[in-house]
């Protein structure tokens, strides 16, 4: 139904026109097909979201860099300058993890209220509703790409080469990140319709989630031994964003073992010394899990969307 006839040629040939069925509940393949058929709408929404956000500001999209830059600066100041964790090139370590975290948190924060905020649209126009959440994820992908570009600029300026041999894992890791973010965004956008204070709860939960992920501290150097002693390593790795952050850090920060800048310059195991193949298998496993998560998220959304009309 999405392919509108471009010109008014041969009207009345409707015998072969596609039939759209509206019934109580769409199956998962139908949902996926509907989603794909509206990818043009998704693109449109992503860019209108971005345009609206920076419409009346002179610096425009550069504002999207300001908040991450500030976060980076503060953590650098606190952990490297004030409390002196002694990690060399700490800004780079921070940045590699923050790029991942920012994409996730920006999308989830935006998507949590999106169905409620766009109630007028949801109640009057026909389109797969999860597109609204996916548009937020899409916008955060755009910010992610900008931040990644700045990170690359960082590398060039510092003369710091990434781990070339592991670079091919990056796309796998990114797709897993995208699917994970999209799953959480889609589910939260629907749940908020029923529980409006999910927005506030999410702010708190995301704070907690942030500190459960090794962005500003090193998992290997701080807690891995203790977790291992109690046999709780698996608990830490339930957090699906952790392997993604570690992959990004491994690729952009590169070094697994560094010499501390603090006297007497002890050796610091900042990242796990896993082989390339274990990074690859970790990311592929995660990709498989996030694909399932995404499908589950779509079906949860499908169950919840039936009553949007009476809740909005």
């Amino acid at each position: 139904m999405s392919d509108a006839a471009p010109a008014k040629v041969e009207r009345r040939s409707l015998e072969h026109a596609p039939v759209r069925v509206v019934s109580a509940r769409a199956t998962l393949p139908t949902r996926l097909r509907n989603l794909w058929s509206r990818h043009e709408l998704l693109t449109s929404l992503i860019f209108s979201d971005i345009r609206i956000k920076y419409k009346n500001s002179t610096l425009g999209i550069f504002w999207s860099m300001l908040s991450p830059a500030l976060t980076l600066g503060i953590y650098y100041l606190v952990f490297s300058v004030i409390t002196k964790n002694g990690y060399p090139n700490f800004a780079l370590y921070l940045f590699s993890g923050l790029v991942v975290w920012n994409m996730f948190v920006t999308a989830v924060n935006m998507a949590t209220g999106v169905i409620v905020d766009r109630a007028a649209l949801v109640k009057k126009l026909s389109f797969p509703r999860e597109i609204l959440a996916l548009a937020n994820v899409g916008a955060s992908v755009v910010y992610f790409v900008i931040q990644l570009a700045v990170l690359c600029l960082f590398l060039v300026v510092l003369g710091h080469a990434p781990a070339w041999g592991l670079l091919w894992i990056l796309p796998i890791s990114f797709v897993a990140l995208y699917l994970l973010t999209a799953s959480v965004a889609i589910v939260m956008s629907a749940v908020t319709v029923y529980l409006r204070d999910m927005r506030h709860l999410m702010e708190v939960l995301l704070q907690l989630w942030f500190w459960l992920s090794p962005v500003v501290y090193s998992y290997q150097n701080t807690i891995s031994q203790r977790l291992h002693d109690h046999g709780l390593t698996w608990v830490y790795f339930i957090n699906p964003i952790t392997p993604i952050i570690m992959t990004f850090q491994r690729i952009f920060y590169v070094k697994t073992t560094v010499i501390s800048t603090n006297v007497p310059h002890p050796v610091v195991h900042i990242l796990p010394t896993w082989s390339a193949s274990s990074y690859a298998s970790m990311n592929l496993t995660l990709l498989a899990i996030t694909v399932v998560l995404f499908l589950v998220a779509l079906s949860i959304f499908g169950r919840l969307e039936g009553n949007f009309e009476s809740e909005l």
């Binding site: 509206v22 509206r38 209108s48």
Partner: protein
Amino acid sequence: MTTVIDVENVSKQFKIHHERSQSLKERLLHPKAGSTELFNALSDISFTVSSDETVGILGHNGSGKSTLLKCICGVLQPTSGQIRVRGNLAALLELGAGFQTELSGRDNVYLYGAMLGLSKRNVDAIFDDIVAFSEIEHFIDTQVKFYSSGMYVRLAFAVAVNVDPDILVVDEVLAVGDERFQAKCVDRIRTFQEEGRSILLVTHQADQVRALCDRAIVLDGGLMIANGPVQDSLRIFREHLLEDAVEHDRASHQAEVAIDSVTTPTGSFDVRSGAGLHFDVNISSHTAYSGNFVMELFTRGGLLVSRSDAQGAPVNLKPGANQVGVDLPQLPLLDGVYDVNVGIVDYHGTVIAWKEQAASIQVTYNGREGGIVELGASIQQR
């Protein structure tokens, strides 16, 4: 003729919440607080619409007509049953619902087009037509938040009618805009009809249905109570509306007024063009009642020939049988059958009694003029 919309046993239930909070605290503390009631917005509706057909959906507020339309458009999923839609459907449920006020008119046209399922290239092709139809060339790059409500609506309508839909769904949006723009919209709908597209028109204005539709469906309380020719459906609609109104008002005034029949002294409603006609309307009333008398004259094609103003014709009914005489000194009408509707309305304009198609006048005409009215034009060369 292809079936473009096939509605099959569609029902829709809504949950109505009474006093239930949507906050997490309330839900946790009082999981069962607030009662929920199921409300049947639509009950087992089935009908089809063919290509080439304009169908009106009539019903008063709360009858389920908007719910039905939303189901057809896919905004809502029915609780049971299914709807099959063949071809492109453009819906005008609420004009400008998809607009982002922060964006310019141009950006909104593209976004709205995407909402309706068009690609950027499709919108490029029709962009100029849209702008021309909406008549806001100068403001197309202005943010929509600075638009007047009229401009807003014109732009939305322009997008919807220019997307080349196979099926156009219109929900009471023709009531917006100034008179000239309304006429333009009606024109566009007529063009669509000529091009053989299907139109689904939802309204509570009987005149619009009479003027535009081939067939009408009447909904009442979620039930389909009529599906047939416009004349028949309108009669059912009016009579139903009336029953409801009487039920509501029975407590306030005991007026139970009914129009029994319309008769002529000769018993015949055949009349020669230009001649006069007198008929009597027999009204029975339980109480004394004073109101206004209304008479409408329609062609079989649904065109209103004349409506005699209620204000000008007060009647004082006494308990029992009453008779109101209607004198038409001359009928300058041409060949054809004309339907007469008569009714009593109160001084606020609420219908108290109504009879649709109370009589049919057969006019015979021997002259050469065509149309409805005999002007008696004489044509001479000077």
